[in-house]
């Protein structure tokens, strides 16, 4: 994490972390994403916004090779997805772990699991790796909880453990799914401070989110996907007013009326 921090710089080929060209994704011959072009550079803090069903999760999954595309290409750190092997540079931070509720998994085991890789199958975790996990867990303020079962922690604490897991891996691209959803105010403050520090250290962050509460001042670029499949990306650019951005420009409302987080439905003229 020693990369320079290019403030709002245009992405050059050498600086590109994620590149997507003319990407199309179909489910059962229905277009979910159409002709998406996107290039995310080192050190950017990108918010990927859009209403439910606009394909933002699909876009991220396709970027990471979890979903196959019907057309177009994905590059990770300058390499085509099919040839990309440096997976330790990328960490996905999910909202929760599906497998942590059936069998007890300790906080420590969760953080260490960020270091699992087919490349190091034959040797146990080294002292350096354990030290990285210790530092990561201390950084999120949960070292004291290392022996606890993950599923006995609050939602916000679990989210911080999952971030520690990503930090332990030393990844320089962090992809986060709804990092602020369902987090109380105290946890949100800690989470935001942590993300700010990572960003200052040069980590590239992509956040898929509905709500910008708490993190809007960190975002250097907003990519908004629209509901119209013919034109997937309806806005892509730096926040117009640094520091308060999208609240003025993106129209929020609770589309499905279920009281969930508001959906971003598009830009006002």
């Amino acid at each position: 994490m020693t990369h320079p921090h290019p403030h709002g710089a245009a992405t050059s080929a050498a600086d590109e972390v994620v590149g997507v060209s003319r990407l199309c994704v179909e489910f059962d011959s229905e277009h979910v994403l159409e002709d998406v072009d996107l290039s995310i550079g080192r050190g950017e803090f990108v918010a990927l916004l859009g209403p439910n069903g606009s394909g933002k999760t699909t876009l991220v999954r396709t970027m990471l090779g979890l979903q196959t595309s019907s057309h177009g290409s994905v590059r990770l750190f300058g390499e085509p997805l099919s040839r990309f092997r440096s997976w330790q540079r990328i960490a996905l931070v999910p909202q929760r772990l599906p497998g942590s509720t059936s069998i007890p998994v300790s906080v420590w085991e969760t953080v260490l699991s960020g270091l699992i890789s087919p490349r190091r199958r034959w040797r146990p975790f080294s002292r350096v790796e354990r030290a990285a996990a210790t530092t990561a867990l201390t950084d999120v303020g949960l070292w004291g909880k290392r022996h606890e079962r993950l599923d006995t922690l609050s939602g916000g604490q679990q989210r911080r453990v999952l971030i520690a897991r990503a930090l332990a891996s030393g990844a320089d691209l962090l992809v986060m799914d709804e990092p602020t959803a369902g987090i109380d105010a105290a946890n949100l403050v800690q989470l935001t401070a942590l993300l700010a520090r990572l960003h200052e250290q040069g980590t590239t962050v992509i956040v898929v989110t509905h709500e910008l509460t708490g993190i809007s001042h960190l975002i250097t670029r907003a990519v908004v996907l629209g509901p119209d499949r013919r034109e997937s990306v309806v806005f892509d650019g730096p926040p117009p007013v640094p520091g308060q951005l999208l609240h003025d420009h993106v129209h929020h409302h609770d589309t499905d009326g279920d009281g969930d987080a508001p959906s971003v439905v598009g830009l006002e003229p």
Binding site: W87, P94, G99, S106, S113, I116, R121
Partner: protein
């Protein structure tokens, strides 16, 4: 206990029971975490078709059942992958197809094959042959070696397949491997525990252990200990009561579950006070 060891067949049965008690929970802990607790059941049913085929064609039951279970393992992973939502339906197909095939082939086989099917369904003290013991030892060593090398990747996949994939773990390979390992365990347990109950020894010790543990590793270790205790105790019990060993082994495992359920209450409240 010493008296039991005087019988050759009991020595072999004890070795077989100890082996299955050791490795079944070792694989079960991954299956439970992936919410595939019934996968072993499906494998057991498919292996029954293998036993039926062995009766019909006069081949050796262990390799034939193994072949059927491994084919079943690939089949179920294929179905699960192709139709994303139908994991439980895929298991159901294996259940019914496996039982039907097993009983059908055994009934078509010459002699009294269908009556000896019972020994394979609920286990038997006397069916572990001399050659079986070495085959079982080899299979268990192979399973243990695979878990030792690939256990962390199997753990990552059962924690969350998506984040595992983003770490470079070959999720499909690991899922298929997990199903194949379950198939091997089923065949190892086939002789003493029986095909209908063998998956219980994969799952019940794990379910029992996780009531008092706080980590995956501790759960795995305790489950293996409970599996070993239940298998050996159940086998000895079945010798004295003169019933098939499968049910007694499973009942001992369930007894472990009940005891730990009671023990878990004070442990949890003490931990809550400590935090």
């Amino acid at each position: 206990m010493i008296a039991i060891l005087e019988f050759d067949f009991m020595r072999r049965a004890l070795i077989a029971a100890a082996l299955v008690g050791l490795i079944a929970p070792l694989i079960g802990v991954f299956l439970v975490q992936r919410r595939l607790a019934l996968l072993g059941d499906g494998m057991g049913h498919v292996a029954l078709t293998g036993v039926g085929l062995a009766f019909l064609f006069g081949t050796a039951p262990v390799p034939t059942a193994m072949a059927a279970a491994v084919v079943g393992a690939f089949l179920i992973e294929f179905i699960r992958y192709r139709s994303r939502t139908a994991g439980d339906v895929a298991l159901a197909l294996l259940f019914y197809g496996g039982i039907a095939g097993g009983v059908l082939f055994a009934s078509l086989a010459p002699g009294k094959a269908s009556s000896s099917l019972n020994a394979y369904l609920f286990g038997s003290l006397s069916t572990v042959a001399e050659g079986d013991v070495w085959a079982l030892v080899a299979l268990c060593l192979a399973v243990a070696a695979i878990v030792a090398v690939l256990g962390r990747e199997l753990f990552a996949v059962s924690l969350d397949p998506d984040i595992a994939a983003v770490q470079g773990v070959r999720v499909r390979v690991m899922s298929t491997l997990m199903a194949v390992l379950a198939a091997v365990v089923v065949v190892v347990g086939m002789r003493v525990v029986g095909l209908l109950l063998v998956s219980a020894i994969m799952i019940v010790p794990v379910a029992a252990a996780q009531q008092v543990t706080r980590s995956f590793r501790a759960t795995a270790v305790l489950a293996v200990v409970l599996g070993l205790v239940a298998s050996v105790a159940g086998l000895v019990g079945s010798f004295y009561v003169e019933v098939p060993p499968g049910p007694t082994i499973v009942l001992f495992a369930l007894l472990c579950f009940a005891i730990l359920a009671v023990v878990a209450v004070p442990i949890r409240s003490r931990r809550k006070e400590a935090t």
